[in-house]
C-alpha cells in the first residue's frame, strides 16, 4: 500500500495544488455555505405547510390525570391538537427505540422525565402554534421521581416503567466482558492496586442546528416524504415503515444539509413521528423544529456513567490488569443507539492501549426519570467513557508509583510487532505504532522542558499541570454478522456511474453533518480512477437517490462507506480495462493502469483515458461478452473488522489559585487515522473534537435537582466553549494504515472527543497535585477546583 500525504497531483496535470486524489483541496460544499445557500430542514417551505409545536411535561414523574385542549383548538390559526389518547387510536402512542424498548411518542399514562412530549399543536404559523401551547390545560398527579442513579435499584424505589408488563424495578440490563476469575486472580497477587470511582457526567451534543422535520404525506399515492435532521436516513426509512405501516417503497427520507450532528441526530424522536402524524391528519405538510431548550432537555444525551475502576500493576510499573463495574443511567426509556449485542456500546475497550494479562468489566443499565438517549456526542459507542476511565487510572497509578506518567505509558503500550493485537475483552486491534505517536507528541510539546517549567512554577506557588492521554479508538462498525441496529446489519453501499463524457456521480449511504463527504468521497474515487474531484458529484442524504446503508455515526463514514467507494471505483476501473482493450483491440492482460488511463504495456502512447473509455462504453464499439454497455458499478461493503485509530494527546493548563479557573494554555494532539485522504478536513475534525473535550472537561454538563428539573436546559446554563476558552491547537500525525481496509483509512471523526477529556483532567489534577489531589470529576469548573483546594495542605511557596 502506498502512503500518501499532501501528495502532489497527477504529475501530468503539473499542478501540485490540485491533487487528483488524496491531498489538501478546498471543500466542494463550501461555495454554497459561504453564500448562505446551504439547505437545512428549517429552510424548507412547502405549499400549504403547517407548523407544529410540542407541549412538554414540566415535571419529571407524574400520572396524567386529564388534558383539556379545547381552548388551544379555539385559538386563531390552530388546525389540530393531538394528544396521546389520539395516538392510542392510531396505535402510534408508543414507538420502538433503537434498544428493543419502547418510548412514548405522546404520554398516555404517565410522564417520565421533564420535557417529555405531552401534546402536539398544529397551526398556520409557528407563533400561533406556540401561543396555543399555553392554552392546553394538563392535570398532573406528581409522583416521587428517581433522579440519583445510585438509588434507582433500591428496594422501594418508584417503578418508572410500569407500562411494561410485570416490571417491578428500574433494572434494564447487566452486561459483562472479559474474564472475572482470571482478573481477580491477577489483582490478588499484584504489588499495587489503585481504585477510583470515576464519573463521566451527563452531557449533550448540542449541534448548532436543533432537530426538526418536515413531513409531507400524499394521500392518493399513500406516499410519505420526510425531510429530517437524520444521520441515518436509510435506517430511519425502515423504522418509519415498521412504525407507521406505510410501505417502505412509499417512504422517501431526505436528510438535507445538517447543521452538526455529533450523534444527536441518530435516533428517531417523537417530534419526527408527530410531524408525520400531523401531515396524515391534516392532509398538509407539517414542519416541526424544536427550540434549544427542547433540544437540550429531550433529545439524546450522552455518557452518564458511574464507573468504579481498578488497575493492578507490579511495583516496577508493569500494568497487569484492569477491572470495572459501571452504573449506567439510561433515563426513562432505553433509547441508546448501538449495535444490538452491545448494550454498553464498546465500553469493553477500556483495556486501552496497554498490553494486559487480564480484564473484566460489568455494566448495569437502569431507568431514571431523565431524558432518554445515552449513546451520542461523538463517543464511538462509549469509547469516550472507556478511554477516560483507563487514562485516569493510569495517571493515578503513575502518581502512586511516583513515576512520570509518560514513562509509565511508554513502558506498557502495546508494541508494533504485537499487532494484530487481541485484547482481553474480545477485540482485535488492527494496527498500531503507539510508542512512535507518544514520542512524537512529547517532542512537539517539549515535554521535558514543560516538566522543568512546572517545577520552577511550583516552587513559586504557581499551579501548572501537564496531562497526557493515549487512546485507542474502536470505529467503523460492522462487521454485520456481529453488529446490527434493530436487525439491520451495519454495512454500507456505494454506486458509481461514469457518464459518457467522463464525469462521474457516486451515491453513498452515509450522510454528512459537516464532515465534508462531498469532498472526501470524491477524492477517494479520484484517487482510484483518476478523474479530478471537481468532475465527481457525491450524492447523499436522500433515500430515493442512494443505496441502502446504516449511516454516519461512530466514525463509520470513511471506514465503511469510504471502503465501499474505493471498491466500487476499483470495480469500475477493472471494467474500464476490458472496454479499453476492446477499443484498442488489445488483450486486457496486456494493459497497464496509470492514474486516469489504461495503456498498452511497453507502449504508453497507446492507451485510453477514463473519459474515452466512458464514451466507448456508451458508444458503438463491440464490447466483450459479459461487459454491459456502461461504466457503472455498485457494491455493499461489510467490514471484516473494526478499525482502531489511535493518538497521543498532551495538555498544558494553568490554574488560578485564587479563583480555581483553568486555562488550557496548550494542547498537542498527534493522531493516527491510517491513510489520510484530505489533511485539511482531518485537521478540522480533530480541532472540533478537542473543543468538545475542553467543554466536557471544564464546563459542559447536564445536572438535575432533586425534583428532576433539568438545570442545563439553555445555553446560559449549559456552557459551550467559545473562541476565548480554547487554545490554538497544535496537531501532528503518524500514519499506520489499517491492514484490512481497502485504502488503509481508519476514520477520524471522534478521536479527539474520545482522547481529549482525560488529557485535560489529567492536567488539572497534575496542577493540583501539590494539594494532595489525585482525582477530580468532570467538569473541572472554577467552583469545583476552588473547592478542592480549600482546607488542603498549601503547595510550597
Amino acid at each position: 500500500m502506498t502512503i500518501i500525504e499532501e501528495r502532489a497531483a497527477n504529475p501530468a496535470a503539473g499542478d501540485e495544488n490540485r491533487p487528483i486524489g488524496y491531498g489538501r483541496i478546498q471543500r466542494k460544499e463550501d461555495p454554497r455555505f459561504v453564500r448562505g445557500k446551504g439547505h437545512y430542514v428549517d429552510d424548507i417551505v412547502l405549499p400549504g405547510m403547517l407548523h407544529g409545536a410540542i407541549l412538554r411535561s414540566p415535571v419529571a414523574h407524574a400520572r396524567l390525570v386529564s388534558i383539556d385542549t379545547s381552548a388551544a383548538l379555539a385559538h386563531p390559526g390552530v388546525v389540530a391538537v393531538i394528544t396521546g389518547q389520539d395516538l392510542l387510536g392510531l396505535k402510534l402512542a408508543w414507538a420502538p427505540t433503537l434498544s428493543a424498548d419502547v418510548q412514548a411518542v405522546l404520554a398516555t399514562d404517565k410522564v417520565r422525565f421533564q420535557g417529555q412530549e405531552v401534546a402536539f399543536v398544529i397551526a398556520e404559523d409557528r407563533y400561533a402554534a406556540r401561543d396555543a401551547l399555553e392554552l392546553i390545560e394538563v392535570d398532573y398527579d406528581v409522583l416521587p421521581p428517581v433522579i440519583d442513579v445510585r438509588t434507582a435499584l433500591d428496594p422501594g424505589a418508584p417503578v418508572i416503567r410500569d407500562d411494561l408488563e410485570g416490571r417491578t424495578d428500574n433494572h434494564i440490563f447487566d452486561w459483562e466482558a472479559g474474564n472475572s476469575a482470571e482478573t481477580d486472580a491477577v489483582f490478588a497477587s499484584a504489588d499495587v492496586v489503585v481504585s477510583q470511582e470515576v464519573v463521566y457526567p451527563r452531557v449533550h451534543p448540542a449541534p448548532m442546528e436543533t432537530c426538526g422535520a418536515v413531513a409531507d404525506f400524499e394521500p392518493i399515492e399513500g406516499a410519505l416524504t420526510l425531510y429530517e435532521t437524520s444521520q441515518a436516513p436509510h435506517a430511519h426509512r425502515t423504522l418509519f415503515a415498521i412504525v407507521s405501516g406505510i410501505p417502505e417503497h412509499k417512504i422517501r427520507i431526505v436528510s438535507p444539509d445538517i447543521g452538526g450532528g455529533f450523534g444527536n441526530k441518530v435516533g428517531i424522536y417523537p417530534g419526527y413521528i408527530l410531524a408525520v402524524v400531523g401531515s396524515i391528519v391534516t392532509g398538509r405538510p407539517v414542519k416541526w423544529m424544536e427550540d434549544r431548550s427542547e433540544n437540550l432537555m429531550s433529545t439524546s444525551f450522552a455518557r452518564d456513567y458511574i464507573m468504579q475502576g481498578e488497575i493492578a500493576a507490579t511495583k516496577d510499573g508493569k500494568i497487569l490488569a484492569v477491572r470495572s463495574t459501571v452504573l449506567a443511567d439510561h433515563g426513562a426509556f432505553n433509547a441508546t443507539a448501538q449495535p444490538t449485542k452491545y448494550p454498553a456500546g464498546f465500553f469493553h475497550i477500556f483495556t486501552g492501549s496497554y498490553d494486559l494479562q487480564a480484564a473484566h468489566c460489568k455494566v448495569t443499565g437502569v431507568y431514571t426519570n431523565k431524558a432518554p438517549g445515552g449513546v451520542a456526542y461523538a463517543c464511538s459507542f462509549r469509547v469516550t467513557e472507556a478511554v477516560y476511565l483507563v487514562e485516569r487510572l493510569v495517571d493515578m497509578l503513575a502518581h502512586k508509583l511516583e513515576m512520570d506518567p509518560a514513562k509509565l505509558r511508554l513502558m506498557n503500550l502495546i508494541k508494533p510487532e504485537q499487532f494484530p493485537y487481541k485484547n482481553k475483552t474480545g477485540w482485535e486491534y488492527d494496527s498500531g505504532n503507539y510508542e512512535q505517536a507518544l514520542r512524537k507528541s512529547m517532542e512537539m510539546a517539549g515535554y521535558d522542558d514543560l516538566r522543568r517549567e512546572q517545577q520552577e512554577k511550583r516552587a513559586r506557588g504557581e499551579l501548572m499541570g501537564i496531562g497526557i492521554s493515549f487512546f485507542t479508538e474502536t470505529v467503523g462498525a460492522g462487521p454485520r454478522k456481529h453488529m446490527d441496529i434493530v436487525g439491520l446489519g451495519m454495512a454500507d453501499g456505494a454506486e458509481l456511474r461514469i457518464h459518457p463524457t467522463g464525469k462521474a456521480v457516486v451515491r453513498i449511504s452515509v450522510q454528512s453533518q459537516g464532515q465534508g463527504h462531498e469532498t472526501t468521497f470524491a477524492q477517494i474515487v479520484a484517487e482510484e480512477i483518476g478523474i479530478p474531484p471537481e468532475d465527481i458529484d457525491v450524492v447523499h442524504g436522500d433515500t430515493d437517490q442512494t443505496p441502502f446503508g446504516l449511516g454516519t455515526y461512530g466514525s463509520r463514514s470513511t471506514p465503511v462507506s469510504g471502503a465501499a467507494v474505493a471498491l466500487v471505483a476499483r470495480k469500475v476501473r477493472e471494467k474500464a480495462k476490458f472496454i479499453a482493450a476492446a477499443m484498442l483491440e488489445a488483450r486486457p492482460e496486456d494493459l497497464e493502469w496509470e492514474k486516469g488511463r489504461w495503456f498498452v504495456k511497453g507502449d504508453p502512447s497507446v492507451g485510453k483515458t477514463m473519459a474515452e473509455i466512458a464514451m466507448g462504453a456508451h458508444g458503438t464499439v463491440t464490447l466483450p461478452e459479459g461487459i454491459d454497455g456502461n461504466l457503472d458499478a455498485e457494491v455493499t461493503y461489510d467490514p471484516p473488522n473494526l478499525t482502531f485509530p489511535f493518538g497521543a494527546y498532551i495538555c498544558v493548563v494553568d490554574v488560578d489559585p485564587g479563583t480555581g479557573h483553568v486555562t488550557v494554555r496548550r494542547f498537542i494532539a498527534v493522531d493516527d487515522c491510517g491513510t489520510r485522504i484530505n489533511p485539511m478536513i482531518i485537521e478540522g475534525q480533530v480541532h472540533g473534537g478537542l473543543t468538545d473535550g475542553v467543554g466536557m472537561a471544564l464546563m459542559q454538563f447536564i445536572e438535575f435537582d432533586k425534583e428532576g428539573n433539568n438545570l442545563g436546559g439553555t445555553f446560559m446554563d449549559y456552557l459551550i466553549p467559545t473562541a476565548l476558552e480554547v487554545p490554538d491547537w497544535e496537531t501532528g500525525f503518524t500514519v499506520t494504515p489499517s491492514p484490512h481496509h481497502p485504502i488503509g483509512a481508519k476514520g477520524i471523526g471522534e478521536s479527539a472527543t474520545v482522547g481529549s477529556p482525560p488529557a485535560i483532567v489529567n492536567a488539572v489534577v497534575d496542577a493540583l497535585a501539590p494539594f494532595g489531589i489525585t482525582h477530580m470529576d468532570m467538569p473541572c469548573t472554577p467552583a469545583r477546583v476552588w473547592e478542592a483546594m480549600q482546607g488542603r495542605p498549601r503547595p510550597p511557596i
Binding site: 460544499e29 459561504v34 448562505g36 429552510d43 409557528r126 478540522g684 468538545d692
Partner: protein, 171 residues
C-alpha cells in the same frame, strides 16, 4: 404594522406582526434563509446580521426595531459573482464544516475587518466570542479571518472601513 428598511442594499417596505423577531422576519417573510437560528437566549450567534454595519443577534431584535435601518445578511456579502474576502478566506482556511454558524461568523468578521483591517488573533477571538461553533474549534475561523485581512478587496471596501472605523464589533 408597516416597516421599511434596507436589506442588502435594497429598500423594502413590509407589513409585520409587531412581535415578530428580526430573524423570523428575515427567514420566513423575506425568505433569506442564510441567517440561522440556534438558541432562544442570545447565546449562540448563528442569527448574527449587520445592522448599520454592526453585528446584532437578530433573535434578540424585533423586526420593528430594524425600521429605518440598513441590514446586511450573508446573502449581501458577495458582490455579484465576486466573493467577499471573508467568504474566500473561510473556504481557503477551512473555517466551516456544517456551515450553520458560518453566516454569522463571516458577518462579524466583516464588521471587525471594516473597523480593524489588521486584527491580531486575540482580537479576532474576542470579536467572535459571542458566537458558537461546534465543528471547527475556532482556530481555522481565526485563520480564515486572517486570510481575509491579508487579501483585502478593492477601494469601495476601503471607503466602508473608514466610515465604520472606531466602533465596537462584538455581537
Amino acid at each position: 404594522m408597516q416597516i421599511s428598511m434596507t436589506i442588502n442594499g435594497t429598500d423594502i417596505t413590509e407589513e409585520i406582526e409587531p412581535r415578530v423577531l428580526l430573524v423570523h422576519f428575515i427567514r420566513d417573510q423575506l425568505r433569506l434563509t442564510g441567517t440561522h437560528w440556534g438558541c432562544d437566549t442570545s447565546n449562540c450567534g448563528t442569527c448574527v446580521v449587520l445592522m448599520d454595519g454592526r453585528p446584532v443577534k437578530s433573535c434578540t431584535v424585533l423586526a420593528a426595531m430594524a425600521d429605518g435601518h440598513s441590514i446586511t445578511t450573508v446573502e449581501g456579502l458577495a458582490t455579484g459573482a465576486t466573493l467577499d474576502p471573508v467568504q474566500q478566506g473561510f473556504m481557503e482556511e477551512h473555517g466551516l464544516q456544517c456551515g450553520f454558524c458560518t453566516p454569522g461568523m463571516m458577518l462579524t468578521a466583516r464588521a471587525l475587518l471594516d473597523h480593524n483591517p489588521h486584527p491580531d488573533d486575540g482580537e479576532i477571538r474576542e470579536a467572535i466570542s459571542g458566537q458558537m461553533c461546534r465543528c471547527t474549534g475556532y482556530a481555522t475561523i481565526v485563520r480564515s479571518v486572517q486570510w481575509a485581512a491579508a487579501h483585502p478587496a478593492g477601494q469601495d471596501r476601503m471607503d466602508e472601513m473608514e466610515e465604520n472605523a472606531g466602533e465596537e464589533v462584538t455581537a
